[in-house]
Symmetry: C2
Subunit: 230 residues, 2 copies
Amino acid sequence: MAFSRKQHTDRSYDEELADLRAKLLTLGGKVESEIAESVRALAERDTKLAEAVLGADREVNRLELEIDEKCRRLLVLRQPAASDLRFITTAMKIVVDLERIGDLAVNIAERAIDLNQSPPLRPLHDLTKLCELCQKQLRGALDSFVDADADKAEAVIKDDELVDALYHNLFNELLALMMEDSKNIRRANSLLFVAKHLERLADHATNVAEMVIFMVRGTDVRHPHSRDEV
Amino acid sequence: MAFSRKQHTDRSYDEELADLRAKLLTLGGKVESEIAESVRALAERDTKLAEAVLGADREVNRLELEIDEKCRRLLVLRQPAASDLRFITTAMKIVVDLERIGDLAVNIAERAIDLNQSPPLRPLHDLTKLCELCQKQLRGALDSFVDADADKAEAVIKDDELVDALYHNLFNELLALMMEDSKNIRRANSLLFVAKHLERLADHATNVAEMVIFMVRGTDVRHPHSRDEV
């Protein structure tokens, strides 16, 4: 790019960038396991686990601030060249998505605590499956970022269709349960929100993937909008 | 801050910052009116208006990219001092929230197109009221950003309670309608998602306000998480 000034080849700079990558992966791993635990707390009716997720969110917020600060320091102290600049500013945006995913885990954990007080409405295999698919999407998106691999990012965007299809099925089943018996409405509705949270998690992964493609190729592939499927 | 190097007082730099502020307000105004129109399309059963919202989202995405690019150029060409650096990096994050609000408007418009094909379930005064409150929150958050006014930002965070209370009432009413008659379930559920989209819009406004306080005061007031109220 025309405005890159200086190539940084010094070791400490590379180390700082590597550290930024590592911290982002740590944060990504944390929110991924929070999501998994919140859904497990629901599927296995484990309220203690759900409460642990509520507590763990503090660490996510701490990491978010640390990464933010690191990015700002790199920007001001290092005057990064164009491609690093793109990497660092993308990191700052990705952190927002990761932190929001942490919030979604908290939301799911809160639902779990509430739902675990009533008898189970139905088995939750498909919710667990949806969760696994969403985690895979998140992992793929973060991998594509640290590897600066636009092809990987494209695969994530493509697989969002699978998430949407699974969410759609689950949604219709829950709606049918509501119609079957009004006693199901409150619980089915809560499960529906959990499913919606997972679908939003996948949307965040898609957003990250789109940013990665933009970062790598410099062209805009961001979708005109994420469609609301139900 | 210790790492600020240089005060920029040259006119063109100030102009560029002013231009960044103006562009952000333009984008904020656009997503605010998209939200208003999508809810009006629903309340007044105006499918043409809903379709116009779907089309207008392209302009939001264009502006988002333009602001992003502007921020990157400012970072690389101007090596901004600490407070400006904070302003520019906050702008890059706020743009993400604004773009997501644009997505919410699209989601609501899609629901409106769908719901307008069935007879109305109930009057939508409270949905319109919720929308107005959310718009006020968004406007307040953006004002607090351009004025770098942490007190204004605090007021936005405080008023999020009003949004939550209104959303909660609406949620309970819609759930009651579902329980009353299973024929209401599908439409009430769609309206419930619209209400949820508006509540998320207010969450985005709260996020922006939290970032502003961080930008101005340099201390973290970001909530541990945005609670999911229903």
